[in-house]
């Protein structure tokens, strides 16, 4: 008998083990829900699957009588727009400043300590300042995502650039490269996959900031809706929204990973 640490599950067993916790969680929920509803049919805490399906149908597939829109998709669009814009701008800022900082000691001397301090400010603490400065509409929410994630990406990119072997930069210079050429031909292509990895890691924080900002001031958005229906204890709406947010987050993470693998095969195969 092999040691437990040396036993590799077969593909079939592996798939079963992957699904198992999900199945157990669903099963446990349905038992708990049924038990509560049997005692009190108006219980709102653990709605049955039919109640949840009803809510999804109401929000996602029924026209709003007043506005003629589908609330669920409207919320999804608003949230995706904010997080997409915020994280894209963050990534571009992070890439540009991080690359310059990592490559140019003069710039690094001026900017690096400043950015380190900025990145330590808890973004939620300055949310009121953002609302006061940028108003209550889209800009403030996107700014919160940028302020929350950009410094982290900048610092990560800077350290990634500095971790590139010195030998490569010297080699490029002996081949006649200028600072600019080193930046765009040697460093930029090499930190692009690292940028994608960095964005994947900061996406969690980006969602946190998005939902927090939407909870406080918004007219639409996934976070806004959750906090709105909380007043009526509408768990039947909150649950599908949370699952939907998780699904979106997973899809974003997964597609970023796939993009990276397709565009930068040398990075992923080289790491093995």
């Amino acid at each position: 008998m092999k040691r437990f640490m040396n036993i590799e599950p077969s593909p079939a067993l592996r798939a079963f083990l992957t699904l198992l916790p999900f199945i157990i969680a669903l099963f446990a929920y349905s038992i708990a829900s049924e038990a509560r509803l049997a005692e009190n049919p108006h219980d709102k805490l653990l709605p049955s699957f039919t109640q949840i399906a009803d809510a999804v149908d109401r929000y996602a597939f029924t026209e709003n009588k007043r506005t003629g829109e589908y609330l669920f998709w409207q919320d999804t669009g608003a949230s995706l727009y904010r997080i997409g814009l915020g994280i894209t701008i963050s990534a571009l800022i992070g890439l540009f400043i991080g690359l310059c900082n990592g490559l140019l000691p003069t710039l690094r001397a001026g900017l690096s300590p400043f950015i380190t301090i900025i990145s330590l400010i808890p973004p939620m603490a300055i949310l009121p300042i953002l609302f006061i400065t940028f108003g209550l509409d889209e800009l403030a929410k996107v700014m919160l995502i940028i302020i929350g994630t950009a410094p982290v990406i900048i610092r990560d990119m800077q350290s990634q650039v500095m971790q590139l072997p010195q030998e490569q930069l010297i080699k490029a210079q002996t081949l006649g490269a200028s600072t600019w050429q080193v930046a765009i031909r040697v460093i930029l292509p090499q930190i692009m996959p690292r940028l994608l990895a960095s964005v994947r890691l900061t996406l969690g924080a980006a969602w946190l900031f998005l939902i927090a900002a939407e909870a406080i001031a918004a007219q639409e958005g996934l976070g806004y809706r959750i906090f709105l229906v909380r007043r009526y204890m509408s768990m039947d709406v909150i649950f599908p929204y949370v699952i939907w947010i998780t699904t979106l987050a997973f899809a974003m993470d997964f597609s970023l990973r796939k993009i990276s693998e397709v565009c930068f095969p040398w990075y992923h195969q080289g790491a093995k």
Binding site: E167, G176, S178, R185
Partner: protein
């Protein structure tokens, strides 16, 4: 005027004296092997030739002019590792050398110019025997093939000096022998001036037309950093008779009594 003149060069880091009183001249086309114990300053000296480090005193003249204080096209380099760009294929790795000089702004070339560079790059790749791996990425190559690639890259610029920093140190013995044949061939065909740092004395004598042994002549046991290393032996081994003499020198250097550190390294 000699090709390369080293005039009374000293190098120190703070209190630690690394090199002292180096006075050497090198003719064009020489292959200088630099050997010595770890920390004797041979790599520091190579870095000064490269322009990565500056001597504390003295001057180094290349064709009568002081060396430029940063790496440039006059001096090619092959490091022990990390010399090639992991995100480029073999062909792109070699082509990039001429793309740098032809596309100052964009960094990329197109059309006819690109075809010219490609033809030139293919020639050098062929010269180092990498044609079958033309479109492979460095991580798909063995250590020896990566070093061949690094050599091809450096040759594209026709450098006045080719610097080799323990280029074969990480390779298997069999591959190393192949690389020796290759580098000697390239040296003779291109009339290059080569400086090679190596830990392996045998390799130094086998390849070089001249061997410099770095060691400390003066030693203060109370302050081991007080004196720097000098070139204690400067051996011309370009002819066969000198080569056989040098064989004896190897044995002399390899005996434990004359150089305990060297012995330790071999073990």
């Amino acid at each position: 005027m000699s090709f390369l003149e080293i005039k009374n060069v000293w190098k120190s880091y703070g209190d630690a004296q690394i090199l002292e009183r180096l006075n050497l001249t090198v003719k064009q086309g020489e292959f200088v092997s630099m050997v010595g114990a770890s920390g004797c300053g041979k790599s520091t000296f190579l870095n000064m030739l490269l322009g990565k480090e500056k001597q504390t005193k003295g001057e180094i003249l290349l064709e009568g002019k002081p060396l430029v204080q940063e790496p440039d096209e006059e001096r090619g380099i092959v490091f022990q590792r990390y010399s090639v760009f992991p995100h480029l294929t073999v062909l792109q790795n070699v082509m990039i050398a001429d793309e740098f000089s032809n596309a100052k702004l964009l960094g990329f070339v197109f059309g006819k110019k690109k075809a010219e560079i490609k033809a030139k790059a293919t020639e050098f790749i062929d010269a180092v025997g990498l044609t079958p791996a033309l479109n492979k990425y460095p991580h798909e190559l063995s250590g020896g093939m990566q070093q061949r690639l690094a050599i091809a890259q450096a040759l594209m610029k026709k450098p006045k000096i080719l610097l080799l920093d323990e280029p074969f140190g990480a390779l298997d013995p069999g591959i190393r022998a192949d690389m020796h044949v290759l580098i000697r061939d390239i040296w003779q065909k291109n009339n290059l001036t080569i400086f090679m740092v190596t830990h392996d004395i045998k390799e130094g004598f086998e390849l070089g037309s001249r061997v410099w042994v770095f060691d400390k002549l003066r030693h203060d046991p109370q302050a081991p950093n007080a004196y720097g290393a000098q070139v204690t032996y400067d051996l011309d081994i370009s002819s066969e008779t000198n080569k056989s003499d040098s064989k004896m020198k190897i044995d002399e250097l390899s005996t434990p009594s004359s150089n305990p550190i060297m012995q330790e390294e071999k073990a």
